[in-house]
């Protein structure tokens, strides 16, 4: 099956909330409402013609308007693949540390378990009803989600210096210890200025990349 046939098949299920097929993209995708995500996934897995045995990637993209959560499905037996997207719009007036939430698909595809934890760890996307929802790579006490556009780079992690010009631990004056950085309580808005590495245009960061030729 090609993507168009897969999309037709999805539409034929009668589930609402299935968007158009974006076939002009290099990796054709279907935008799906979060409310029907589990049903769509379960259908694609169980139907004998679609037979998507594998969810091989879950990732997310931060945009100015919110987050896209992207699911890459493929079928070994039928040799086809499909990309699903759930778009979560950022509500008006939400601060920079707003956390989007989508349902976890770990109950349909167990492989989603770690992928979703990674998206939580690096981008701060919440997955509701996840069986084991915590960070996967960074330490539990880590503050913030490093791949966010407005992420503020930490200077220390506890005692451990993370800056290039930090004073080594064993050269420090014990009577004058450096002040530990203030942890930010969960839920408080990000009040620090955007980092110099921020790519947001209003942060005065790097200039936007020039448009590539020949890309749709």
């Amino acid at each position: 099956m090609n993507e168009q046939q897969l999309h037709d098949k999805l539409r034929a299920t009668g589930l609402g909330g299935i968007g158009e097929l974006e076939s002009s993209a290099r990796d054709p995708f279907v935008v799906v409402e979060a409310s029907v995500l589990l049903e769509v996934m379960a259908f694609l897995r169980d139907d004998s013609e679609t037979a998507m045995e594998m969810l091989h990637n879950v990732t997310a993209v931060q945009r100015e308007t919110g987050f896209d959560v992207v699911y890459h499905l493929c079928s070994y037996s039928r040799h086809h693949s499909l990309t699903l997207k759930v778009i979560v719009a950022q509500p008006e007036g939400e601060a920079g540390d707003w956390e989007p939430a989508v349902p976890s698909v770990a109950s349909v595809y167990p492989s989603a378990n770690w992928h979703e934890r990674e998206q939580w760890d690096l981008l701060g996307v919440r997955f509701n009803d996840h069986p084991d929802f915590r960070r996967i790579i960074l330490p539990e006490e880590w503050i913030g989600h490093p791949l966010r556009k407005d992420y503020v780079y930490p200077s220390t992690f506890g005692e451990i210096p993370l800056e290039l010009d930090a004073i080594p631990l064993y050269e420090r004056d014990e009577n004058d210890p450096p002040k530990p950085s203030e942890p930010r309580p969960a839920g408080t808005p990000l009040t620090q200025p955007p980092s110099e590495y921020s790519t947001r245009p209003d942060a005065g960061g790097r200039a936007p990349a020039p448009e590539k030729k020949g890309e749709s």
């Binding site: 960074l138 330490p139 880590w142 490093p146 992420y151 780079y153 930490p154 992690f157 506890g158 451990i160 210096p161 993370l162 800056e163 290039l164 930090a166 080594p168 631990l169 064993y170 590495y197």
Partner: protein, 177 residues
């Protein structure tokens, strides 16, 4: 060498004994079995047959920090790992030596600007004797680092009273021990 440690006068005879002891010490530097990232692959090559670190008496990677004299830190030290590296170093018995292998542990390497959780050089955590830069360093470079460390160990005073030069050399170990 507890009681005699750096108490004998600094003369020719004691110097000769020190040289002999130094030769023994530098010829049995036992590194720890420890690797973090890509550089560790290159370190394993150095231990294996082609490069054969055993020629310099350092070819027996020990399985525990308590038996080893040398910790080669090969690979990116991030915030989570730094705690472990520090603990392993603290568990090693004195005298202990550190080789920082690779650009990552010499000063951040590829992660120097965007590495949000990378410790920019393992010398922020533990005192380093030899820096071996490269990404990753060739096995020859690591072997050169170990040869330099051998030279350094051979020069250290064990019995003789410390003079200006070896006090400086030993000072940083006293500071952390």
């Amino acid at each position: 060498m507890g009681l005699l440690n750096n108490t004998l006068p600094d003369n020719k005879l004691v110097g000769a004994v020190d040289t002999a002891v130094g030769w023994g010490r530098k010829s049995s530097v036992w590194p720890m079995t420890f690797g973090i990232a890509c550089c560790a692959i290159e370190m394993m090559a150095v231990f294996a047959a082609t490069f054969d670190l055993d020629r310099f008496g350092a070819g027996i990677p020990r399985a525990t920090p308590r038996q080893s004299d040398l910790i080669i830190v090969p690979g990116t030290v991030n915030a989570k790992m730094a705690v472990r590296v520090r603990r392993l170093y603290d568990q090693m018995a004195e005298p202990r030596y550190v080789i920082a292998m690779g650009a990552c542990v010499c000063g951040g390497g590829p992660y120097v600007k965007w590495g949000y959780n990378t410790v920019k050089g393992v010398h922020k955590i533990i005192p380093v004797d030899i820096f071996v830069p490269g990404c990753p360093p060739r096995p020859e470079a690591l072997m050169d680092g170990i040869l330099k460390l051998r030279e350094k160990i051979g020069r250290e005073a064990v019995f003789a009273r410390r003079n200006e030069a070896n006090t400086q050399m030993n000072a940083k170990y006293d500071a952390v021990s």
